[in-house]
Amino acid sequence: MDLSYGPEYETFRAELREFLQTRGDEAPGRAGEVASLGGESLVRWQKLLIEHGYAARNIPKEYGGAGAEPDPLIATILSEEFGRARVSRGVAGQGIDMLVPTLLEHGSEEQKRSYVPPTVTGEMVWCQGYSEPGAGSDLAAIQTHGRVEGDTLVINGQKIWTSTAQFSQMMFALVRTEPEAAKHAGISYVLVPMDTPGLDVRPLKTMTGHAEFNEVFFDEVRVPVANIVGRRGQGWKIANTTLGHERNMLGSSATSEGLYEGVVRVMREEQVDGHSALESPVLRDRLMSLQAKTIAMKCHAMRLLGSRLRGESSGVAGLVTKLNGCQLNHDLAGLAIDAMGEGGVLYRGTDRSRENGRWQFQYMFQLGLIIGGGTAQIQKNIISERGLGMPREPKVAASAAKSGVKG
């Protein structure tokens, strides 16, 4: 156990702090704001970050990145220091985090040159077309299909849970191109311009009252066959190379730490019968239980980092972050609401609502994250099957499965 980072990393940290202090006010909005996606100020900020090696760090220079070797400690320092300074980390989201690594691994040279550089700077925004009304946890059951007509792929069908579709120029989508092939073998990974005729984006309002997601409809949407990444029918494999990444993005311990501090603040300020809510033994007991979990998740992240640095597999320990982290965040928001008593029900639009409804929003939004990106139940399948070596549920008869995907 050695928790020091070593002198060269501390130098990197000191330079980064200096940068954030002197240039941080050039950053757009607050960290994680979606509204500015593709906006000019974000692109300008992103370019500055890349220039200093603070964003797109491991993407090769020829494709617009900073071209540094991957280093988990540097990545950790970047995340710690931007979080501490509360400054935007630049472009985030499915384009840079999921599409770019996929293209770098599987894309043609032309695809890499056309799409990676503008995605890295944030000028080109992407959305992910995976889930469908009939293909959620069973993602390989997608029915959106593409028929090949010469060098054109004609797509019909529907995607759902498509975040940022309304700001996006492009979508990377899973499309069934080989209807006769077995379930997993008939899917292609396709790049679709969002302004193609026949493509319709409709906002999907969730229980939070906001449209964090969209539905995307395809009616005879024509894209070049050259927009398929890798070979036809290889899409499932290609998508899976980056799905694991999404699991790790959700449930990060930094989110829990921020929420925990927020709950302490709420409980300190909330007055119950003339006493701070912190003085309620019952609420305080819940708070401490959640603090222990929050610290445990932080330690767990350090342990996973330790495994990466040693080049070891983290084994089953590496599979539990999303399941625990999302549940913890939901519980933290729930405690804040309970600490507010009846005032906990207030939502956006009244001065009496603490932080403009932040906690009710979080309570609902975090519930969505327990479901999205692989439900808690799918996570438990992954933990028990890949982590503990337990057998999969026996498959239903092959013919039934196949007829299910034809439609």
Partner: protein, 359 residues
């Protein structure tokens, strides 16, 4: 930066686990707990050669002077083996109170004997953690009077360290006026005793040593957490193996999601807890300003996680898990005892809030 166990710590875990597999396999554990002695004294002396009994004793007194994280690695292995050995009472709590509170002469007299396994001690401090009815010891006119409850690993100890307020009194087991009464508990792999004091003259007294007592209790909380961790690891591996083997409805029950998900929940709960334990153990030596809070939260968390986990493990086993003959009940009970020791979760959560000024 390296968060995790070192090569040496992994080797230590393996060594102790192998020793227990050979010297204290479950049939032998059952023999010990059904016998007259509360521990296996031969195994304890043999463990002295591996440096286990004296792992927290300074080298100058013949110990191995390991870190608390090292000791936690040992405790995890002992929990995994449900070992009937006084690691918590003698090798941790009493040893650390002697180290932190006793005079050099008393340290020289007792620490080498604790290290080589020829003597055992126990700490009577339950009243410091939580004052219950019908308990409490006073010290007036040079005499101890009253009752000390729930002295962990107290049976067969050669001497007791008795906390009265911030003072500690050393009382040999043979002292006049001392009554030692074993208290039957659910977990027979470790024993509690009750001490009655009738005008007992201590052999030695160490005054105003509250900080040393607190440090020892913090360490004890980490060690109990580690014991729960080892117990949970055992309960999980037994559950997974059983689910793979047991067939119902014509297939292994491990293929049913209802069963698989219970196993996944156990692992998902224990892995971040393991990370917390390592950090709490590390901080006791290396980040002392954080260690009281971490030890307190860690023990509270393990009390809850462990308690739920052995219940789920029993559920995965179905009826067989409820029998005496099947071994899982040993760990169900061991965690049941550990949960209550040195403060249950509610007590510890309240303490954690006080420690950070949130009360």
């Amino acid at each position: 930066m390296d968060f995790g166990l070192s090569e040496e710590q992994l080797l230590l875990a393996e060594t102790v686990t192998r020793f227990l597999d050979e010297r204290l396999p479950v049939p032998r554990v059952r023999e010990v707990i059904d016998g007259d002695e509360s521990i296996d004294p031969d195994a304890w002396r043999a463990l002295a050669e591996l440096g286990v009994t004296g792992c927290l004793v300074p080298e100058t007194h013949g110990g191995a002077e390991l870190s608390l994280l090292d000791a936690a690695v040992i405790a995890t292995a002992l929990g995994h083996g449900a070992a009937p050995l006084p690691f918590l009472g003698s090798a941790t709590l009493a040893t650390l109170v002697l180290r932190g509170a006793a005079s050099p002469a008393v340290q020289s007299e007792w620490l080498p004997r604790l290290a080589d396994g020829s003597a055992r001690m126990a700490l009577a401090a339950a009243e410091r953690i939580e004052q219950r009815q019908d308990s409490g010891v006073t010290f007036e006119g040079g005499r101890l009077q009253g009752t000390a409850l729930f002295v962990i690993d107290g049976a067969g100890a050669d001497a007791y360290l008795v906390a009265v307020g911030d003072d500690v009194h050393l009382v040999p087991a043979s002292a006049d006026g001392l009554a030692i009464k074993a208290l039957p508990t659910i977990d027979r792999t470790r024993g509690l005793v009750e001490l009655g004091f009738e005008a007992v003259a201590p052999a030695d007294s160490f005054l105003a040593v509250g900080a040393a007592l607190d440090r020892a209790v913090d360490a004890g909380r980490v060690i109990v957490s580690a014991d729960i961790l080892g117990s949970c690891d055992r309960a999980i591996s037994m559950s997974v193996a059983y689910a793979m083997d047991r067939e119902q409805f014509g297939r292994p029950i491990a293929t049913f999601q209802a069963v698989k998900h219970l196993c996944a929940e156990m692992v998902a709960a224990i892995e971040p807890a393991r990370s917390l334990l390592w950090y709490a153990g590390h901080s006791w030596d290396e980040i002392p300003e954080e260690s009281a809070l971490l030890a307190t939260l860690c023990k509270a968390h393990f009390s809850t996680v462990g308690h739920d986990l052995v219940r789920i493990a029993t559920q995965v086993h179905g009826g067989i898990g409820f029998t005496d003959e099947y071994d899982l009940q040993l760990w169900f009970k061991r965690v049941g005892l550990s949960r209550q020791l040195l403060g249950g979760p509610e007590k510890l959560n309240a303490h954690a809030a006080e420690l950070q000024g949130l009360a």
